[in-house]
Symmetry: C2
């Protein structure tokens, strides 16, 4: 079927929308793919819906290919299952809640772990029934505090969410691997540049977890990648390699120095270097002890935690939060220092911490045998050459110091550089949390119940439209990968005379008959307007029916490279069919 | 691709669900197509989702075929557009409402007239842009007071809603006709038995309006149809043919009779027949005057309306409500009779009504020249031979008497019989209500604005799954029309030996390679269990790979007729391909 621009419900815009900051948002609105209806709520106009459906179809095919089965749940869900897992409370203001006419509580589903677990429990009972993987491609809702960037972070969006149900941990690993492989095929088919990063689990709690991030400077997620390998990870998941332990024997004895007016690392280093101690100190030689309070879930009281990091690095609070989850972190207040008079602000050292029973964890770089300049637990005093394993022994290691560009890659290859990405997929070994909540068991061969273990896997289908647009555009407009493009070909009739119009119609008809999806610009507009719209809309191949037609040729233009070739009219259908079908 | 019963997420049930009353609900649950999640909220399991998608695809193809363009709106909608049309208020408790984290009001869209009108206004400006028809296939929400019958009347459901935008009334009529024709093709392709009935407009207000009703004894809607023609109509829309006028000259003069103890039509008729007046009276000879109060929209005071109907019929209040809409009808209370002492309860006649300025409308049967027994406005007195046009002259006609089986068909062919149906489609000339609300104008060729006129058209896509099941089942299970069935063929391996299993696999593989959708029952279950499941699931053609395989034949069974034929294995793929493709 030919789609004609003359009747297509599409009006392109010359100006960027006022509320748009990122390229995908600007271009998808300007090119008439989406329109804003409410904060974080967009309508899909004909071109946008075609792209969305194309992506859905790639996702569906790859899910079906490994035996996942598609089903569909309501989006309007009763409260009770989400109360059973405590997510009704945990989600806080991040979900939409409502009451029906009888006053019963409902939510608009953000993800459907509960419903899938309950449904499998309702249908399956024997170990012979397992494993099973179910999925849906569905509209989901989250009441984002700051919906942004058009469809990149909306409040109503389309997700593919799937759930695997296995009898054993090995089974879960296998299901996880199946999803991981399918996701790789999906994102490859969609022509994306992406990385797979180790992820922390967020609010869901569980074990193995990886995120697929589309590399884009406008992405909300930061990650690091190696300059010399495939290594990539969320900053929260980067592990710092420990240096080799050092000999304690040859280290000088610890000495306490009077270091007046040195409350900061910088002032301390300056003071030491001015003091002529026979060597040069840097911030990396100092050991900064940072105190926080931890509150375990359900606990009324918090406990102190001291973290020792090299003085040239800050504690990264996102890394800290991920490391201590589900405990919550808070800062010390003045009253905490008052209560714990052994904490001498600015001069805290391992000695007082350990003497007073404060749990003391150190950065992986603080290995046995390393010597440090640190607080002497006395105002205006520091200790030099305090040696780990001789003068103090930490309670353990915590890897929460900031990660910096230039740090060695954890896989030993190259160094880390920072990058930004858009989360387009997440795969996650949930384990037995939901099965426990609903007593989801299979009856085993010995008639004993086997608790099921679950995985949860998501792809942001509508977000992918924007993520692809972020990766694939130029200053003139969108450039769709073939598998995603709303049309295979954009045929532009470049001129107003009737022979061209007839030639365009004829060609479009032949291309359509050859099974290609054709957008025909048959409008009474100038060639310049038509070319600008074609560049903006971003169909990867543009066919120009223009002056050359009189000589039996049309021009085939590659939207991405801008390359143009003239092709004889009687060969062009086959030429384009080969081009499109690869 | 072959779908194997051994791994399909499907467990059929032997028992009807406790809450199910209608066949489609029982069978769709028993056969594992849907599962209840909440009141009026169902999940679609793999078989159900396939049927739903098949129906969606037929609808989409026929909409696209006449140039309607698919788009998609959010389901979560801001209040403001619905306030502009007053529907935010009018819907009352029938929509789901919610607030976001900032306290802004939202609703879950029941239909999208407002959003479509606003979107067209946003994109289009010139008369040259029109006409346009847009549609979506989308999840919709209504907070039904009594969700019932499974997916037949849910609170979350899938609808195709479309909207036409035209410059002129003639254009609207054309768009309406395009939809009507497309709906006929859709329901024909879906193999449905349906009628198109004239409908009243309900809450939407407008002009031409027809409903498509799937004929089913379990339907919620009653309608009447002719015994001898295609005539069918909602009871509200039936028009009563007026009998010929009669001569006044030959009628006896009106006489008032003392008729003690005759407060009812029956007692009056008995009294008159006992009084030996020289002829026999029936209830149809009496004129019953029914009083109601009408309140116009926005009015504070109600006004009286008197309705004269033959005494053998009641006033049908649904017909009355439809006839006087948007005014609201209420009954008289004792205080109304006290205020209007000329109303002598049980003996109300035209005389007092008209003398006191009460608007008096009569049934179409009360034509000029007809003589009636009616109240004499005096307790225990009636008047006989009160002649329309001589002794009283009504203010007009109102067609609200009950419609009965045996009444003549309005088209003059045959008589009416009552039937029940399920509303599966509704087409409706909205007119300019929504365009007026949003000032949706096109700039005309003379630069003057042209107010757009709209049509609104719906198909209950998810309801169709149930409606088809209501029409197409037997005591053993579902029987899907080919265009709807989740699979083209259900191949049953009837026996446990390995040759049969291998034969089934081979045949399923060949059929699948021939482009047919195959469900293969490869389970280690008895043939009896497999046959029962096949009948329940309802794929129209069942292929039995059984003992005959050794002799080179398989059995092809028609699910609906039960007919079985043996087909040679080397011919069966072509045989089945021809059968399925027609």
């Amino acid at each position: 079927m030919i789609t004609r621009m003359s009747s297509l419900f599409l009006r392109t815009l010359r100006e960027d929308p006022a509320d748009a900051e990122v390229p995908s948002h600007k271009l998808l609105v300007r090119a008439g793919y989406v329109r804003r209806v409410a904060p974080g709520g967009y309508s899909w106009l004909p071109l946008g819906l075609r792209v969305l459906r194309n992506i859905e179809q790639v996702v569906r095919e790859e899910m079906d290919a490994f035996g996942a089965q598609e089903i569909q749940f309501p989006a309007l869900l009763p409260k009770e299952p989400y109360e059973a897992t405590n997510r009704w409370t945990e989600y806080g203001p991040n979900i939409f809640r409502l009451k029906d006419r009888k006053g019963a509580d409902y939510l608009l589903g953000p993800t459907h772990e509960e419903l899938f677990a309950l449904t499998v429990k309702g249908e399956y009972s024997s170990y012979k029934d397992y494993p099973v993987t179910l999925y849906q491609i569905q509209t989901k809702y989250r009441d984002e505090a700051r919906p942004r960037a058009g469809i990149l972070r909306g409040r109503e969006f389309v997700m593919k969410d799937s759930y695997s149900f296995d009898l054993t941990d090995e089974g879960l690993s296998h299901s996880y691997k199946q999803h991981r492989d399918a996701y790789i095929r999906i994102f490859d088919r969609l022509g994306m540049e992406y990385v797979i990063v180790s992820a922390t689990s967020g609010a869901m709690g569980g074990s193995a977890s990886e995120e697929f991030l589309a590399v884009a400077p406008t992405g909300e997620d930061t990650f690091v990648r190696s300059t010399e390998s495939d290594y990539a990870a969320n900053v929260e998941a980067v592990t710092t390699p420990a240096p080799p332990e050092q000999s304690i024997e040859d280290k000088p004895a610890a000495q306490v120095h009077h270091t007046p007016n040195t409350p900061t690392i910088e002032s301390l280093v300056d003071f030491l270097n001015a003091a002529d101690l026979g060597r040069t100190f840097t911030a990396a030689d100092t050991l900064k002890n940072v105190l926080v309070k931890l509150t375990q879930p359900g606990a009324k009281e918090s406990t102190l935690l001291a973290i020792g990091v090299p003085g040239d690095r800050e504690v990264d609070f996102k890394r800290l939060e991920a490391a201590v989850s589900p405990a919550e972190v808070s800062m010390l207040e003045e009253s905490d220092f008052a209560k714990n008079s052994f904490l001498v602000k600015g001069y805290i050292g391992p000695g007082a911490l350990q003497a007073n029973g404060v749990r003391y964890l150190v950065d992986p770089r603080v290995v046995r045998g390393t010597a440090w300049v640190t607080g002497a637990d006395k105002a205006d005093h520091h200790v030099v050459d305090l040696v780990q394993g001789r003068d103090f022994t930490p309670d353990g290691v915590i890897d929460v110091a900031e990660v910096r560009e230039g740090d060695p890659s954890p896989d030993g290859k190259g160094v880390l550089v920072a990058a930004r990405g858009i989360e387009i997929g997440h795969i996650f070994q949930l384990g037995r949390k939901y099965a426990d909540a609903f007593a989801l068991d299979a009856l085993g061969p010995d008639s004993k119940p086997i608790r099921i273990t679950m995985g949860s896997y998501g792809i942001g289908v509508s977000r992918l439209v924007a993520a692809i647009a972020e990766q694939s555009h130029d200053e003139r407009g969108l450039i769709w990968p073939r598998n995603v493009s709303p049309f295979d070909l954009h045929v532009v009739v470049a001129g107003k005379d009737e022979a061209l119009a007839a030639g365009g119609e004829k060609l479009a008809g032949e291309l359509s008959a050859a099974g290609l999806k054709v957008l025909l610009d048959d409008r009474k507009a100038s060639p310049g307007v038509k070319f600008a719209d074609a560049e903006l809309i971003g169909v990867p191949t543009i066919v120009v029916v223009g002056r050359g037609l009189a000589n039996g040729v049309v021009e085939v233009k590659d939207r991405r490279s801008g390359e143009r070739v003239e092709v004889a009219v009687d060969e062009v259908v086959e030429h384009l069919r080969a081009l499109v079908r690869g």
